[in-house]
Symmetry: C2
Subunit: 508 residues, 2 copies
């Protein structure tokens, strides 16, 4: 049943991919340093305050199995309240790997998560979608499939993501089956499964077993599940159940406190980071108690609020600074990091949207994030997935490939022969050195208009969202699905239809 | 004549300012580290290659006085070609101060340029202006004055800039008089003078003498002049004349190579940086030969090209990485740095404009730039100054005030009492800790819309440029000029009218 390694389909796909975007790597190996905001003293202080929160207040964990695991590991349990001695939770995290491979259906697309690697994944979880022609509407399975196809066709996204939008036309209890199927069928990049109920997490893992082979999963990660803390200081049973489902199958939960300062945590950054660090470590520790050595990602989602209205804000300076510290905390515990993305509260793809997105994405790049969910498409604080926003964000991800390469200081790059050839006051346009580097020099944007004012005016004064809209249409028209083994496809379809038949529809 | 220090006018203005924007500092003292991309080995290599360019090729300097100064200092001169032994130019730069104060007419607005300080100044030099209502048109003196007024009224800009747009309705040979007058009359922030001819530089300095007192200028910097290298490797006589005029008056030239890779320098970043470093140091050295110890700024303006069309590109990854290295080179020579700004090639304030602006501005922040020209208003690769763009960029400058503060790790910020009060699963909205920090927590944007989709829709689905347009109107309507001593104002007006009467109009 498994076709993963070296099968015909994989070979065919690999060649096709190479043709489509020759320069697209499976993921980025960063060649620039992380930005280290704090020194050891500051980091130790944050760790100590996180420990203090876990010792003095503790977390409520609404899941008897998880509470039992922590009790057996030596935590202090009082009903659902679990407290930890300082240093205990960090010690429980020690078995987690600092980096791991998430295997993709196409082995050339497998991603290394951790270390100096960067993986871009689309935005996640919005009930609405927006495009320039149709405006804002509820997401459908067709939209979901479109975004999977766009992420597959985008050279600068390395991952298919998870709930790229909510397919609201499918019953709540069956969506996960269609979503996982779409990731496996319409893409060959790595992907994320469901977490909304433990059984849905298990279905997701089971479908991965069909696609990759049950035996392969025993020793390899092929699916991620994004699991949120119910901040402040609560682990919900659905979420701990999902952690247990993924970890027991040796698959990777992404453990993410979601903190809007002033609501789910303090308005002050230091406290919010200490809290997030504590909450994340407890989730990581749970997975390690279920299966020591299983892969896991240290996640973070910090944002701010407009305090006059209570509305969440994104792309603001506080979470950007916070991300830098969070990156240091993740490295301190030795775990791969998920952080930030292209966030905005703007309802449309305007200057606000891209300013905020650039600020939050740059924070991800500087802080050393390894898995950057929400890299493309996010609008309205996550409530809408934008088609054109997806394209412009993905274009920025492309630029970041160049940024993360840093600077080449080899002799050829210094162009001394060029200076000798050109001399003072002449131009480098036709210089031999320029001709040698003409083809590869400079990042070339999909969507930026660099033409003159007159050219731009005579072409209809088009804005970036109009150019991106064209790109969406072009990419969807050119889309061809990656090959899949017929037997695997049939087995996946069978699984989906049987599971759907087993349950009545639930719409909420 | 001088009213600078402690006069009535200064006191009045200072109080008015405090009322208008209580939290606005005169400049930023950064509390986060610079981003250090390269280690010593890489920096030494760039320095060595720059030295090699100056030794093997040299620069053409079209100004006999400057060539004579370099000859006397030990350079090898062959006609206009000047060559330097390795290390010589850097040694000539050694007398320049690492930081200096540029005094403003309002002493509370004086800025420290260098060290860990950051000063934001408006964009510079565009012949066109654009606003939402009127579209694109040539700039006028009214537009110029409007931008001076907006920069004065903006708490997040520390400097009035220079040629904030070209007042195209005024003769070329007389514009500088109206521009300098506008900076002195409609603002009390520090400003920049003319550089387009040595006599215009001298007029600018003379007007500064009227406003600040001739004696004051002898030992204090009150005016900057932005001087461009004619890259590659040429110093034009107008520019060296301007350097000499500013330096001899103990005022600060900003020495800036303008390199679009592939045109005025190689397409490869390492070579362009080595070239820029060499060119800048020669300009700095010239000022030091004219007057050792006079203030100067190490400037940089690197950008890329769309190689298929030859069009300049901005906000791309290569110059962002280049800026990080340039910052390190400036610190290596021990000089204050001007670098980057809110650059874009977009013709309008759209997503492209703000994405590119954010990328280039973040590079300035990370690289340790001390004086950030082009912080607000830039469109179309510098050809147009946008009213709404100015507002959104200035708003981002405000956010960067918060970013550059970094993180406070005092006990109160960790909110342990808040966690004890709130406990797991409750919200921080009404917590005592939140109430204590409610007023000061979180950056509050001028232009971002953080309302819900429904609120935004019902309010007319307005985009950020529409909100910024309102802000322009509001700020210009509320504008009141800072006080000025009547005698000073009269003397400035006299100087302008006499100088204008001395010359026939020139229109090109």
């Amino acid at each position: 049943m498994t076709v993963r390694a070296g099968g015909r389909a994989a070979r065919v796909k690999s060649r096709a991919d190479t043709d489509a975007h020759p320069s697209a790597p499976a993921f980025i190996r960063r060649q620039i340093p992380n930005y280290e905001l704090l020194g050891e003293e500051g980091l130790a202080l944050i760790e100590q305050k996180g420990d203090q929160i876990l010792a003095e207040i503790g977390m409520d964990i609404h899941d008897d199995v998880s509470v039992g695991l922590f009790r057996d590991a030596g935590a202090t349990v009082d009903g659902d309240r679990v407290r930890f001695d300082p240093g205990h939770v960090r010690a429980l995290c020690a078995t987690a790997p600092a980096a791991f491979t998430q295997h993709a259906r196409n082995p050339d697309r497998s991603v290394e998560i951790g270390g100096g690697n960067v993986v871009f994944a689309p935005a996640y979880g919005s009930p609405f979608v927006r495009d320039l022609a149709g405006g804002r509407r509820y997401g459908s399975l067709t939209d979901f499939e479109n975004f999977v196809k766009l992420a597959y066709a985008t050279p600068w996204l390395h991952h298919s993501g998870g709930t790229v939008c909510e397919p609201v036309d499918i019953p709540v209890n069956k969506r996960h089956l269609d979503m996982v199927y779409a990731h496996l069928r319409y893409s060959d990049k790595a992907f994320m499964g469901s977490v909304t109920q433990p059984t849905r997490a298990e279905d997701s893992v089971e479908m991965a077993r069909i696609a990759f082979g049950a035996e392969f999963l025993e020793s390899n990660c092929v699916i991620l599940g994004n699991v949120n803390v119910n901040s402040p200081l609560v682990w919900d049973g659905a979420m701990t159940g999902a952690i247990r489902a993924y970890a027991s199958a040796n698959q990777a939960p992404v453990v993410v406190p979601f903190i809007l300062g002033g609501a789910m945590g303090p308005v002050t950054l230091a406290g919010a980071i200490a809290q997030a660090h504590a909450e994340t470590m407890v989730g990581v520790a749970l997975g390690q108690l279920v299966r020591p050595g299983s892969p896991v990602i240290y996640g973070n989602f910090l944002s701010s609020m407009a305090l006059r209205s209570g509305a969440p804000t994104f792309g603001t300076p506080e979470p950007a600074i916070g991300s830098l510290v969070v990156g240091q905390m993740a490295r301190r515990v030795g775990l791969p990091l998920r952080c930030s993305g292209s966030f905005t509260t703007s309802k449309v793809l305007d200057g606000q949207a891209m300013l905020e997105s650039a600020v939050s994405m740059q924070a991800a790049i500087l802080c050393g994030a390894n898995f950057i969910l929400h890299s493309a498409g996010w609008l309205e604080g996550g409530l809408a997935m934008g088609y054109e926003k997806f394209i412009v964000d993905a274009d920025f991800c492309g630029a970041l490939h160049t940024y993360l390469r840093g600077i080449d200081l080899s002799d050829e790059q210094f162009a001394l022969d060029g200076f000798h050839e050109v001399g003072p006051g002449k131009h480098f346009f036709g210089a031999q050195h320029t001709l040698r580097h003409y083809e590869t020099a400079f990042w070339d944007s999909w969507t930026a208009d660099n033409s003159s004012f007159e050219q731009w005016r005579d072409a209809g004064e088009r804005r970036v969202e109009e150019r991106a809209s064209d790109k969406v249409a072009e990419m969807l028209a050119a889309y061809e699905p990656p090959p899949i083994d017929d037997g695997v496809d049939e087995a996946l379809r069978d699984f989906v239809s049987h599971r759907k038949a087993d349950m009545p529809d639930q719409w909420y």
